[in-house]
Symmetry: C2
Subunit: 194 residues, 2 copies
């Protein structure tokens, strides 16, 4: 029986939908964005900075040399440390599904963890995003998709020294476009209860 | 229902064992090294060259500039082309499990294919290799493991322009050390018959 399931995922690949469904089937806690807010409670990061920063990450997270970027990097490091503490506390409690935030890496010393990666080709992800956000045009959405992909890859590489899409960082990787959401949920539930 | 299952795998990760078991459960044909020999029948490559080359690949496959390497590269290109033809013929027949030889890439235009990647950490793979080849010392085995990993990554990159361990090249990737051989077989069978 797995105590913790971490779900890393590409933008638009339904990782949250899958994670929530698996958590429900297992009667486990489900964590995603809430982690950020919880992190704030235990750290000295100002909530308004944090929310603003979290929004800005996908646009400006380039780790360059300018003072602006330096400030962002410092804030990002503090945020990562604060989130790591919160995720470890969640891990200690157990019985949870955690989506995103490099939780597979943060919990790498924990036992009974199932680390999952959910991905799909651009076509599948665009179709899903268009359904969720009909206000965007297709072109803007594709641009946004590529941007977020880049950011997540960079963020992962920076904090974990690992490639985001390298399967060796996970116990199982599922192309949800090919396998399907329901099959993915069923499959992960089956592995979690073994 | 999937007509073709391709299994790419790290050296020592039991990809062949898993592939054979899945083929048996599905009553599908199972192909691995035999592909090389079949390829020879339809090409003008001399079988003795081929066997010698196939043995040498893991040692000398460096694509450098020397005449020796140039000859190897030429032979390798012919071998890859011949194998691709054979694998496509197998794909056309369908109802088969094909292990290795970048068959996921070669059959990328085919329908009803399930592309699988099987991997595991060095510890698991070494334990498995030691069981199969007790004549090797642990140190030699680890050296060989790292060598073959490098060769497969290089070979994949050269012929497909893809990273061998990037999950986006496959429909599902399984860490067999974590998931287990029997669970992997059951899981793949379940996906194949859907």
């Amino acid at each position: 029986m797995k105590k913790i399931i971490t779900i890393s995922r590409q933008f638009g690949a339904c990782g949250t939908t899958i994670g929530r469904a698996v958590a429900e089937k297992l009667s486990y806690e489900f964590y995603n964005k809430a982690v950020v807010l919880n992190a704030q409670k235990d750290s000295n990061i100002d909530i308004s900075d944090l929310v603003e920063f979290d929004e800005k990450v996908p646009m400006d997270f380039s780790f360059g040399e300018s003072i602006f970027e330096f400030t962002n990097k410092k804030l990002s490091d503090r945020l990562f440390a604060a989130q790591s503490d919160v995720i470890k506390k969640m891990g200690e409690k157990g019985k949870c599904v955690i989506v995103g935030r490099n939780s597979n890496y943060i919990l790498r010393e924990f036992d009974d963890v199932l680390n999952v990666f959910i991905y799909a080709n651009e076509e599948f992800r665009l179709a899903h995003m268009n359904e969720m956000h009909p206000e965007y045009t297709g072109e803007n959405m594709l641009k946004r998709l590529k941007q977020v992909d880049k950011i997540r890859e960079k963020y992962c590489k920076y904090y974990t020294k690992q490639e985001f899409t390298d399967c060796r960082n996970y116990d199982i990787c599922i192309d949800v476009g090919s396998i399907g959401i329901d099959n993915a949920v069923e499959l992960l539930y089956g592995l979690a209860v073994k």
